[in-house]
């Protein structure tokens, strides 16, 4: 079972991050964060971009952790899972930086 857990870790992390971003987006739009000005931008953008970057950092940390996995299939799966999780967090979160908030 450890093998399957390791092999899913990075991807589970992506699923978690993805839900966080989607959830924050829904809540932020419902409660009008885009119209709150904070430090040269709006609250919404700050929260979204900060969470995204944090999540990417978390994903990178997971890659580092996954290097400890034992060799063979287990290592292959843990590493790819972590790399895919981190890359997917980066790519699927990309819209927080480039698209408009709630339109």
């Amino acid at each position: 079972m450890m093998l399957l857990a390791r092999a899913s870790a990075g991807l589970i992390f992506w699923a978690f991050g993805f839900s966080v971003l989607y959830g924050l987006h829904g809540i932020g739009c419902a409660y009008g964060w885009p119209s709150t000005e904070v430090g040269g931008g709006n609250l919404f953008r700050w929260v979204m971009v900060a969470s995204w970057l944090l999540l990417c950092a978390g994903g990178a940390a997971l890659i580092w952790l996954a290097k400890a996995a034992p060799s063979g299939l287990e290592r292959r799966l843990s590493l790819t899972s972590a790399v895919v999780g981190c890359a997917a967090t980066f790519v699927t979160g990309l819209p927080v930086a480039v698209t408009s908030a709630c339109v």
């Binding site: 790519v91 990309l94 819209p95 480039v98 698209t99 408009s100 339109v103």
Partner: protein
């Protein structure tokens, strides 16, 4: 049969992309940029198809020695690196295009309220003396962005004028906004695009895009 075939091929070659509901015979800026996206994607897809099919066919030719390429080429290169690059570029392009198309705040936007019913559409336009309400015919000024605020009174419908822009659902309890524009004056066909029951096929409407004079006349209440 032969005659049919000839007819079809000529029809395809000459006027293949035109039609009252054609997404490729564009007359609005959103539809036009989406059509460009489509042609670009079609070209890309054609290249990829040819690539895959060639590789597939080559696998069947007689080879004396073991063929080249291990996981590095097939999986690392063709399987991961190639599609990732193509997809990222495409995604960036599409997101940028989407940004231009959505109903962001802009100056000079005309706002029309549309309400969808089984099976007709009511449009409430801004007039000089209050609202002007029409059924199944939407009036807009040509060359100006128009925002439609969509609501539905019974089931879900979808507002779609393929030659002008993409579609947007009208959902009971929610208000959705779609931006359209017509480059030139003219008449354009609209069709409800979300299955809405027995009358879905006939749930049609028409858009009339006026020139500046026609639009002022319409707003004054002079029905054309």
């Amino acid at each position: 049969m032969l005659k049919w075939l000839r007819l079809t091929t000529t029809a395809l070659a000459v006027g293949g992309c035109s039609g009252p509901l054609s997404t490729l015979d564009t007359a609005g800026s959103a539809a036009a940029s989406i059509a460009t996206l489509w042609w670009a994607m079609l070209a890309g897809a054609a290249i990829l198809t040819v690539l895959v099919m060639t590789l597939l066919a080559l696998a069947f030719r007689r080879r004396p020695t073991p063929a080249p390429g291990g996981t590095r080429l097939w999986i690392g290169g063709l399987g991961v690196a190639m599609p990732s690059t193509v997809l990222l570029v495409l995604l960036g392009f599409a997101l940028a295009l989407g940004e231009q198309t959505i109903a962001r705040k802009a100056a000079g936007v005309v706002v029309v309220e549309a309400s969808a019913h089984q099976w007709y559409w009511d449009f409430r336009h801004p007039g000089m003396a209050g609202e002007i309400v029409t059924r199944d015919v939407l009036h807009i000024p040509a060359g100006r962005p128009v925002d439609l605020r969509l609501e539905a009174h019974d089931v879900i419908h979808s507002f779609w004028v393929p030659r002008l822009a993409g579609k947007m659902d009208a959902i009971p309890g929610h208000v959705n906004v779609i931006r359209i524009d017509a480059k030139e004056p003219g008449r354009f066909e609209g069709q409800c695009a979300e299955f809405c029951g027995l009358g879905h096929a006939g749930h049609r409407f028409r858009v009339v895009a006026h020139d500046a004079a026609g639009w002022t006349a319409f707003q004054r209440g002079e029905q054309p």
